[in-house]
Symmetry: C2
Subunit: 465 residues, 2 copies
């Protein structure tokens, strides 16, 4: 470019600023996009769900998952594979059974919520009081639930972006303590899910400080309907609840980290990943075997690519996301000194649906780069959307500390049909949809790691899962 | 019609033989068709599934179902309601659990097959040997399964008329004895179902005479895939199986019968119905709450109609269909002397999908009547198909004894997705589809009971479910 004509210079100065990508980078990224091996991510998820299966944090199976992830990173040729310990309160599920005692005896399908205590030696037996929403329960008079089981029957709405989850999940997270404040002995909730199948959805709950701890369980959606229909008949409905869950001691797991070393700035890092733990009911295919498989396979594609990026691409199989981002918080604390070297992060933790948009949490000056990344993603049907979206849960603690984020927004229309249920199994996953995501993550990670500069820092956002 | 012109007589002699329906009967039947109260059948199924729920034959809940049916027939205004005792071998389920011990430990979702024995005090633990089909197992060398658990992995195909069930169900019915002949300690089968959900499908099995009895269970389809994927990796796979089922003593239930007395030939009977019992896993909405609801509601429509038919319409809520047509066989034996007075029978036992065809098992001379019935059914989208089809399971024992049958063929495309699973719940049912069927059954039963003569007798057919 020693004697470029003035009109060409003018064109280039419009389309490519000094902070943007050069055309050969776009060409290389497109080659990477097209190099993804069909079925690679599906094979990883199949391996994890078959050889390990359910892997709730702190269980023996979780430790097998850690070993599986180390071995898989190594087999895929990552430059460096290591584990970092993560500690958290240990929760165990135990037995769980519910049945209507009167006036219409029949069993109900329930599952204890993560973090819940049990019902003790004897099943708890009490009349059920139904509330359409958590707000209705909160509006009940103090003491009005004394000796009763509260039933919160709030419904979740279906959306492509899963935005029905936030409003619905409050009854899972806070229902127990809100019910206990009114005197309830236990709480059962309508599952936070969009399906009509007889699988209860588990998920984490929290006890508020200073409030009596009571057992908490979810009914499948058909069982919630059934209980509702019984209660609407007008007679008192008595439920027996037998939950063996307990929270005792400390659990240990590990973040498993695979690095692809950058060719000239290896200390600067782009983080992608999914979480390695799952709930114990299903085999954790969509939550989050998919995220692990997609990002490991994206790493493998980058490793196989002709050109290493400038910076390191780090794939993290995060520990214990489900019970409160324990792996992510531990990582952010342990890497506090290098946090500014984490230049961009993205997590795949929204199932196996196709990506429909690229979004980013960066200041305005870096947005043109994402428009360029989206040029490469265009054949995958992924446009850049300059607003909206949010960081994945496990990159949240880094984002809170100023790390810019990107989001490859997945179609989550069906995600909450089987989320946190026994039905989260390999059959929920379309291998071709994973391929599209592998290509997208590979391009995003490679281009971010090969960017002409970092992406600055961002102000702390509100992080939601 | 004292001086009808010759040309009119000629026309009538072509279109209406002495054995066919008069035009005013068609008009009345059309009025009946259009009089069905929307939601009537759904309300009956909702009542049964909510107030009784699972009602496996011989259980306390089954007895509540009998009382429910008596009360419902009475509330609907049937002229006579009675029960007739039915005895059968009593089967209880008990505990059921399976898990892979090595090399990939994880739980599998199973359910014991009806009629199976248990595994005894201790879980049974053995290597699994997989067969793609029952025929492959039958081709194995004698003794080759000694000390092993046989896994029969045959798949069921999806069809509107459910014809994939027959070929697939042999592994459920006969798998245990065929495996035992080769020395197996137990058998697990891929569920006989068309879904990809993590619900095992139960259903009846039979032990062959003179063959060692071994426990038999079904894996959900995803669990069968999982076990297959493990076995295909090449290492021996060890399974632990813990089944508490037992067959002990005698069970008692009742056929519940509601009669709508015919206006001039009450001793001649048209039989419609569904079966009252269900498996114990779901609430028995599609199998066969739907059939009970449809035919009870059809009876209610006939009761509300201006004109009673000539003959009696008998709605039977059959006892213990699931474990071997016990109610139907008992009825046929108990009513042996009046069997020729049962002029036509039909059963609704294929879920809640819309009816797409009318078929009949009658000799040729009566086929024109069914073409006339189909004229009345035409607005419901139900043509007459002069060939094919078969009697419903519970009318089978009467058909074997010469009773003509009719079939309102239902769309069963989705039926085997949730058949015999915990997911057989009210949510599977579309109320409007039931309305169509109520209208069809009401028209069929009324016209059959008001026919100018009976439908003759038929030679014994092959009866299949």
């Amino acid at each position: 470019m020693r004697s470029l004509p003035a009109f060409l210079l003018a064109i280039l100065s419009v389309s490519v600023s000094a902070a943007d990508y050069r055309s050969e980078q776009l060409v290389q990224a497109a080659q990477l996009r097209d190099s993804v091996v069909p079925g690679a991510a599906h094979a990883i998820v199949e391996s994890l769900t078959t050889e390990v299966g359910p892997r709730m944090a702190g269980t023996e199976a979780d430790m097998r998952a850690v070993n599986w992830a180390r071995a898989k990173f190594a087999a895929l040729g990552f430059d460096e594979v290591r584990i970092e310990p993560v500690k958290f309160p240990l929760w165990t599920r135990g037995r769980e059974h519910a049945e209507v005692i009167a006036p219409y005896p029949q069993p109900l399908h329930i599952t204890a919520l993560g973090g819940s205590i049990g019902t003790g030696e004897q099943p708890l037996q009490a009349e059920v009081v139904m509330f359409d929403t958590l707000a209705d329960l909160q509006a009940a008079a103090d003491g009005s639930l004394s000796g009763k089981i509260a039933f919160i029957n709030g419904r979740m709405e279906r959306f492509r972006d899963g935005r029905g989850y936030g409003p619905a999940v409050a009854q899972r997270g806070n229902g127990a303590s809100e019910a206990a404040k009114k005197g309830a002995l236990a709480v059962v909730i309508r599952s936070v899910g969009t399906d009509l199948d007889r699988f209860p959805h588990t998920g984490q709950m929290r006890y508020a400080e200073g409030v009596t701890r009571i057992p908490a369980a979810a009914l499948s959606v058909p069982d919630a309907n059934l209980l509702q229909h019984m209660i609407q008949r007008g007679q008192p409905v008595t439920l027996a609840l037998d939950i063996g869950a307990e929270l005792r001691g400390e659990g240990l797991s590990y973040n498993v980290i695979g690095d692809i070393r950058g060719r000239s700035k290896p200390e600067e890092v782009v983080v992608i990943g999914g979480h390695l733990d799952s709930w114990d009911l299903g085999t954790g295919a969509i939550d989050d075997g998919a995220g692990v498989g997609i990002t490991m396979a994206a790493g493998a594609a980058i490793l196989a690519h002709a050109q290493r990026p400038l910076r390191t691409v780090r794939v993290i199989a995060w520990a214990n996301e489900e019970q409160g981002l324990h792996g992510a918080n531990t990582y952010a604390a342990a890497h506090a000194k290098e946090i500014t070297q984490h230049i961009l992060g993205a997590e795949s933790d929204f199932g196996a649906g196709r990506v429909y948009a690229l979004r980013a949490g960066v200041s305005t000056e870096y947005q043109s780069r994402f428009a360029q990344i989206a040029e490469v993603l265009a054949p995958l049907g992924i446009p850049y959307e300059p607003t909206g979206g949010g960081a994945g849960p496990d990159v949240g603690p880094l984002v809170v500390r100023g790390m810019p984020w990107a989001q490859l927004a997945q179609d989550g229309t069906d995600y909450f049909d089987t989320h946190h249920t026994a039905n989260d199994v390999l059959e929920r996953i379309d291998s071709a949809a994973l391929d599209q995501q592998v290509a997208a993550y590979a391009v995003l990670a490679w281009m971010a790691a090969d960017a002409p500069s970092d992406f600055g820092r961002v102000p702390p956002p509100v992080v939601a899962k």
